[in-house]
């Protein structure tokens, strides 16, 4: 019973084994990829392990506080240097091993040539909101 975030990066992760930009795929291959992702989420819903997921637009904007009474400064998107996140999925599973297993499965989504992309996904555990009942280590 631990939640994990699965992050799909555009950049920042090592290159996928089957690394072909999506716009170079056949349309059916794109459809097959989308279907794989949806089926994956649906399957997790059925196992009671799905928490949420969303795709993100590739370009974001950097925003910064610029002092009292002034509008925030915007800049970016610095697309070349900064890694960008394509989408995320949150799962709630019984073990770290299960989380790795599911991330591996998601990474096998079909890409160019109908072959698995073998892309890298980042797996990050959530920090719990409420401390559990054990005392901190200094007891």
């Amino acid at each position: 019973m631990a939640k994990y975030l699965l992050l799909k990066h555009y950049r920042g992760a090592p290159a996928a084994v089957n690394d072909v930009p999506m716009d170079q795929w056949a349309p059916e291959e794109v459809s097959a990829h989308m279907k794989y992702m949806n089926d994956f989420a649906a399957r997790l819903e059925e196992t009671g392990e799905f928490v949420g997921g969303q795709a993100l637009a590739p370009e974001g904007t950097w925003v910064r506080y610029d002092g009292e009474g002034r509008p925030p400064v915007t800049d970016g998107p610095f697309a070349e240097t900064k890694d960008l996140i394509a989408g995320w999925m949150v799962i709630d599973v019984d073990s770290y091993e299960r989380a790795v297993e599911l991330a591996g499965e998601l990474s096998a989504a079909p890409g160019a040539g109908g072959k698995p992309i073998h892309e890298w996904l980042e797996l990050r555990p959530f920090l719990a909101e409420s401390p559990n009942t054990t005392d901190c280590p200094h007891q």
Binding site: M1, E46, T47, G48, S130, P131, N132, T133, P137, Q139
Partner: protein, 391 residues
């Protein structure tokens, strides 16, 4: 007439339906429907016999559901020939429900969800909120769990140890949403203790009461962690502590020690100390030695190292910690079950006067912390020591 009463009746009502021949999954759905109706209707129109009311309504819901299923018509005919709902049978099947919901074929999260629903009478929404997952996800988890145990026979005794593990999992979840899971775990363990005469059930109940008695002082109003040494002991719930101690003493007197009794004994020694200085660390260490004998887990050895540090000084504590690191092949990597190892090392180094090492280890421990409150606490410790060293 309140929700707590309705919920406390859930397991026996469910057990009666199953005893009358309803299969577990259908009975469970029917009881949930009846509970919802009770929560809605009872405040305005409370029944005289709450349990009888629930049994009647749940049975009717079950029949309705069965009737609508043409494939089950034959079974329905058989079922309808059963005697009309009368007084609840003398045999209490609630215990069987606990066993069923903690069945070893279920994953921990499924067992927890099913226990909270079938034994605890919580709605799927309440359980989903408590575990911060979508209601649809929790609904699936519960129905899968029900399918998993659907052909488990209801009349065989189960394993108390698995039930205790599930209840302890619930207890340690704390709370979010409108249900306090720790209080719920105590309620269910109390109910179990009233039905089964087992020293470890009593041990777990005592442990929960003793931990729970100190909960309010474990966090500051802003949610930050307050370590044991700084907790306001005047705010500990003395009634809970007294009850826990009495239950524990009766269990220990039976001379069938188990890990929950040993843990409760340690909690009782903490709860018993009027000040942190007066804590009987020597006796606590003896109980940790018992625990190591009962369950030689890395977590127990880690906590034992803390006790060694308090009883025999930080150097001895660090030596105990080093022994633990050498003997366990799994070094504390992220996601491993030993996230507090580094925090303990940091604390012992600080007490030993090595502030530089302590500060570095606190920062590292913050990095590995399993929850926000601990991470923030450990970060502050690192910052405090670094400020001291600069100043």
């Amino acid at each position: 007439m309140n929700e707590a009463l309705i919920r406390s009746l859930t397991p026996s009502v469910l057990a009666i339906l199953v005893r009358r021949g309803a299969d577990f999954a259908a009975a469970e759905d029917a009881v949930q429907d009846a509970l919802v109706e009770a929560v809605r209707g009872w405040p305005a129109d409370p029944p005289r016999d709450a349990k009888g009311w629930l049994v009647t309504v749940a049975w009717r819901k079950f029949l309705d559901a069965t009737r609508s299923d043409a494939a089950r018509r034959r079974r329905e005919d058989r079922v309808e020939e059963e005697p009309a709902p009368g007084p609840a049978p003398a045999v209490d099947d609630t215990l069987q429900l606990y066993f069923l919901c903690a069945h070893p074929s279920l994953t921990p999260s499924s067992a927890v969800a099913l226990t909270l629903r079938a034994v605890g009478g919580l709605t799927t929404r309440q359980i989903a909120e408590a575990y911060l997952v979508p209601e649809a996800t929790m609904a699936q988890r519960i129905s899968r769990a029900k399918r998993t145990v659907s052909d488990v026979r209801f009349d065989q005794p189960g394993d108390v140890a698995t039930v205790l593990r599930v209840l302890y999992l619930v207890f340690n979840e704390g709370y979010s949403g409108d249900v306090d899971l720790s209080a719920e775990a105590i309620r269910l363990t109390r109910q179990l203790a009233a039905r089964v005469d087992h020293p470890e059930v009593a041990g777990l109940l005592a442990l929960m009461l003793l931990h729970h008695a100190r909960r309010a002082t474990r966090t500051a109003p802003d949610g930050s962690l307050v370590p044991l040494a700084e907790q306001d002991r005047g705010r500990w719930d003395t009634a809970s502590i007294a009850e826990g101690v009495v239950i524990l003493q009766a269990a220990l007197a039976r001379d069938r020690l188990g890990e929950f009794q040993a843990q409760a004994a340690i909690a009782a020694l903490h709860a018993d100390a009027p000040t942190v200085e007066e804590t009987d660390w020597v006796q606590i260490l003896e109980w940790y030695d018992e625990l190591v004998r009962l369950t030689d887990s890395p977590v127990v050895r880690l906590n034992r190292a803390v006790a060694v540090g308090e009883a025999d000084g930080p150097r001895a504590g660090l030596a105990a910690l080093a022994e633990l690191t050498d003997s366990s092949p799994a070094s504390p990597k992220r996601g491993s079950p030993m996230p507090r190892h580094t925090a303990v090392a940091a604390y012992l180094h600080e007490r030993d006067g090595d502030l530089a090492t302590a500060a570095r280890l606190y920062a590292e421990a913050a990095h590995q912390a399993p929850n926000l409150a601990e991470r923030d606490y450990l970060t502050r410790q690192a910052a405090r020591l670094n400020t001291l060293r600069r100043g």
